[in-house]
């Protein structure tokens, strides 16, 4: 692998990081609007408001950036970057297609992805604490508690699929995929996707940013570009979680088309899952804090353990 190749892959991941979340965001605008009997943005860019998010970005850039007087300025400014960067790094390791169509194929790819995604919490905790605002602090603490609780079932579900494939390399897992894995790992997929949704703090798991009680959680004091970074990290998170679910549980690039079009399948599955994320957001109301915790510990963790046991049994039976 020469330098040019590496550079090209990095640029590719960066471009994907900068465009795909915007596509998801625009889809969210439109899908949510139509699910609520509205039209959504219609003006920016002319055709059905396709450039709405670009316009939003321009608006965010122009806005004044306000740092509260009592805030811890440096941490306050650093927090959005800390919460955004992990997703960019994760994107490097997700395989899109066969034959090395991946930013950087890692030996312990699955582990890497989960580990780096876990770092994003720190950014949110920093934002919540440094804002010098009790609502922000509450939001930050809720975020941390929620992310810690949901990390466990997520890792367990991922462990199940790693066990099935016999490798923790993401490309290896996709390569080992067979269609009958879908019913076999269905529970694991459900747990992983749901826990991922909770990690993103998307509705119905958006207690940390519950706007009706703690304004906007850890992001309350943010404005302008830094607020946009938090929003972007949310959409990038949707992309990453959907892509991971597609790669781990839905067979990534496997599909009826030939392998050369495998990347299309991965993207298709990713966007289908992103649509489900939006769909769930529109449909369900927010879970209360205690319900949220109970769902993680008494719902998802036992399910993930059961899936792990099932995977083990089947694995032993067929080997």
């Amino acid at each position: 692998m020469n330098l040019l190749d590496t550079l090209l892959r990095c640029v590719g991941a960066l471009v994907a990081f900068l465009t795909l979340p915007l596509v998801i965001g625009q889809t969210e605008h439109k899908v949510m609007a139509h699910m609520q009997g509205r039209l959504g943005p219609m003006y920016a860019g002319g055709f059905h408001g396709w450039a709405q998010l670009v316009a939003d970005g321009v608006k965010f850039v122009q806005k004044e950036e306000i740092v509260p007087a009592d805030a811890d300025r440096r941490i306050f400014r650093l927090a959005p970057a800390v919460s955004l960067l992990p997703y960019l790094i994760v994107l490097l390791a997700i395989p899109i297609g066969p034959n090395g169509f991946v930013g950087q194929a890692l030996d312990a790819g699955l582990f890497f992805v989960l580990a780096v995604m876990g770092v994003g919490v720190i950014g949110k905790l920093m934002a919540g604490w440094a804002s010098a605002n009790k609502f922000s602090l509450l939001g930050g603490l809720r975020t941390a508690a929620q992310l810690m609780s949901y990390e466990l079932p997520m890792v367990l579900a991922a462990a199940s699929v790693a066990m099935a494939a016999g490798t923790v390399s993401l490309t290896g897992i996709v390569a080992a995929f067979h269609w009958w894995w879908i019913p076999w790992q269905a529970v694991g997929a459900f747990v992983f996707f749901t826990a991922g949704l909770a990690e993103l703090q998307r509705p119905p798991f958006d207690m940390p940013i519950a706007d009706s009680e703690i304004i906007f959680g850890a992001y309350t004091e943010y404005s302008g570009l830094r607020f946009a970074f938090f929003l972007l990290s949310e959409y990038a998170g949707i992309l990453v979680v959907s892509a991971l679910t597609a790669v781990l549980f839905l067979g990534g690039w496997h599909g009826p088309l030939p392998d050369s079009l495998g990347w299309l399948w991965t993207l298709l599955k990713t966007f289908a899952l992103a649509f489900v994320v939006i769909w769930l957001r529109v449909t369900y109301p927010r879970l209360r804090e205690d319900q949220l915790m109970r769902f993680a510990w008494t719902g998802l963790v036992p399910l993930a353990l059961a899936q792990l046991a099932l995977t083990g049994i089947v694995k032993v039976a067929i080997s």
Binding site: D107, V116, G118, V119, L125, W129
Partner: protein, 218 residues
């Protein structure tokens, strides 16, 4: 056994490698090491509690990079997952729940700072002299990728299964212990029945809430 291990280890001959012509890996290792040391020093000396925890993040993340440079890939990711993703978050959580203020807290360091400094310097001096004297000529041969997930998994589940299982029991015990410790006893006063309230004390007297927490020690 030891001799065979030593024999299989890197060459012990002096002057095989010079300290004056470092390899690229060594340079990176040194730079990251300096960053780790610096952030660790700030972490134990700063008076801003949350900053200390965040500098700890930098130090531990740097250590993960060092693990990577030592070809222990799997350990490095475990370091990121457990330390950065969980331990530091727990520490931050703890700091925030114990009301860490924004800005300096004057009582972060205790009075025996100078004693501590002396002890630490003595320890550092002794250890560094000892280590440098003992391993001045040792050379790590960083080939072969001994730290990949497959290799680590094999060694872990082929040779270290029993400790692994014992550790899982320990973790379970820690989990149970943490839950037991952090549970509050349900000592809420029983709800007064509306009938009794009407015939009971006048309303003005009952407005003082009964405290369930013991008075704070001064």
């Amino acid at each position: 056994m030891i001799t065979s291990l030593l024999a299989s280890a890197g060459p012990l001959t002096p002057a095989a490698r010079s300290f004056l012509s470092p390899t690229g890996v060594e340079i990176v290792f040194l730079l990251v090491g300096i960053a780790v040391l610096g952030s660790a020093v700030i972490a134990v000396t700063t008076k801003q509690l949350v900053h200390a925890a965040l500098w700890l993040v930098v130090a531990l993340g740097g250590l993960a990079v060092e693990f990577l440079l030592l070809t222990a890939e799997f350990v490095a990711w475990v370091q990121v997952l457990i330390y950065l993703g969980s331990v530091v978050v727990l520490v931050l959580f703890g700091l925030m729940l114990t009301k860490a203020p924004i800005g300096r807290s004057p009582d972060a360091d205790s009075g025996n700072r100078w004693v501590a400094l002396a002890v630490a310097l003595a320890a550092a001096g002794t250890l560094v002299t000892l280590v440098v004297d003992a391993f001045r000529t040792s050379w790590i041969d960083l080939g072969g990728g001994g730290g990949s997930a497959a290799m680590t998994g094999q060694s872990l589940f082929r040779h270290w299964v029993l400790p692994f299982e014992a550790l899982s029991v320990l973790l379970l015990a820690a989990l149970v212990g943490a839950i037991v410790l952090s549970r509050t006893k349900d000592e809420r006063p029983p709800k007064p029945r509306p009938g009794k309230l009407r015939t009971g004390k006048p309303v003005g007297l009952s407005s003082v809430p009964a405290s369930t927490t013991p008075p704070q020690e001064s």
